[in-house]
Symmetry: C2
Subunit: 295 residues, 2 copies
């Protein structure tokens, strides 16, 4: 195994979440995101953030550990929306947030509104992206998700992805003074329907990153099943397999029982659920819910 | 990855099944076994083998690749029963069989009745067991499942299990002239409820065996969840995780949809289901079955 497994600590005003290979898997709820949600987009465009309340509640109840917040709606002031959303969500829950934007000004507005130690989503290995965002991450004492892709390509070859991880680590730690444990790599899970070898390559990349650096990793759990039927089953199985290769968190729909069940089973099997207490209580809750429906 | 991945070939009179790390996972149906089935035991004691017909049909329909046959009922002539069962099953299906007994005479009777190239379940690293069974395996040109446990213990430490695998390989190939690809290791999955580290240790053992020898492996899929609720979910997740460590088959209840679904998802993710054809057709069949129920 080589190097020790690192811990990434993020916080709200009152709650800390530790991401790490010796901890249970960190579920980052992806729901607060207008992409593909037309009604939500229209509401946000009209300055109506009320739908967020329901999304927060559903994800908290489902057991999310962190909530991703993305306010990327075309033709709006994303910075203003994101700052408002962050403030509002922090009044609704004590879960730490992952502040998610491709717009640098929006990230800054979100970070400045945030109370605690956020996770920033995301940088790539592109110099310009690192130059724009890493000073912000550093200024607000946040952690950051980094994708090993470059200006021209998302390399499929694990060796090439590892070289881009090397570059990210080198630049972020040496030029921007980041601690390596505050960089969470997203090794890019691609659709299995487009390339049969992609999941194996992603897991090889993960093993390489874990064994060389012990860094934490996350991924978009649902990418891998894009275009396939039975998506939840595929996503859940992928996460459990990837957890054996070093994946320690995922950005996912925290409301999908089938996916979470795989993750919780993998937590238990990896020795991160003492006496199976979480697994057993989860099962009891499901039984109680079924019994309530039946009566 | 080191060494090439070996192929274990077993056959009925007309059908070959290849177990191997570059093939889809091999499902060995465990159902034809009187252990824990009181009515079936009584029937077998009375010489009534008719229940086997239903067990064969259910497992074939569920997609088993190989059927395990165990006739271990106390106070019966197990050798005679096993030979009869083997003959009967080979009239019902062309799936290859795994001939399963702790009684040497029963294994011999089963092997002599069998048409094709069987899998024998099982030897251990104990000298006496190897001495009794390996000459039979060789005589009938079969393959064999081998458990890395010794007279005194089932070692929990992966290093110790690997030493016992070394011993099995050494003795079976050098003293009995077996081909290494005809030895399938069962690295002993133990209940996670009794020992939190057991699944990790078993997967470490698997990785060690794959990387050193490229040998095929099997396990009793349901052991790991013994004493826990939500067993199918745990078993399926365990198999998918273990497949990333080199597990290439399992002795399992081939009728449990939830477990098979995980295995089939893992086949796809490991690149062993070209274009996802098996995954997609499985999903369509499930939808058709649901539609049939709904009308």
């Amino acid at each position: 195994m080589g190097v020790p497994l690192l811990e990434t600590k993020i916080r709200s005003a009152s709650k800390e979440v530790v991401i790490g290979g010796n901890h249970r898997f960190c579920l980052i709820g992806e729901r607060i995101n207008p992409t593909g949600r037309r009604i939500f987009q229209e509401q946000l465009r009209a300055g109506d953030l009320s739908a967020i309340e329901r999304d927060v509640k559903a994800q908290v109840e489902a057991g999310a550990d962190v909530l991703d917040v993305n306010m990327g709606v075309p033709l709006t002031d994303e910075a203003e929306l994101l700052a408002k959303a962050v403030t509002m969500i922090q009044e609704l829950t004590d879960l730490p947030l992952c502040i998610d934007s491709s717009v640098v000004e929006a990230l800054e507005a979100g970070l400045s509104a945030y109370k605690g130690r956020a996770l920033v989503n995301s940088i790539t290995a592109e110099d310009e992206r690192m130059e724009q965002i890493l000073p912000l991450v550093k200024k607000y004492d946040a952690a950051v998700i980094a994708l090993p892709n470059d200006v021209d390509e998302i390399p499929m070859d694990p060796e090439k992805r590892l070289l881009l991880v090397d570059k990210i680590v080198e630049v972020a730690t040496k030029e921007y003074g980041m601690a390596i444990e505050d960089i969470v790599i997203d090794p890019l899970a691609m659709p299995i329907g487009a390339d049969q070898e992609t999941a194996v390559n992603t897991m090889t990349t993960m093993r390489g990153i874990r064994d060389k650096y012990g860094m934490n990793m996350t991924c978009g759990a649902s990418n891998v099943s894009f275009g396939m039927p039975g998506r939840h089953g595929l996503n859940g199985t992928f996460l459990a397999m990837a957890m054996t290769a070093g994946l320690t968190s995922a950005i996912m729909d925290a409301r999908t029982e089938e996916v979470i069940s795989s993750v919780k089973a993998a937590d238990l099997l990896l020795g991160h659920d003492e006496w199976g207490m979480a697994w057993i209580s989860r099962h009891r809750a499901a039984q109680a819910a079924q019994a309530a429906v039946a009566t």
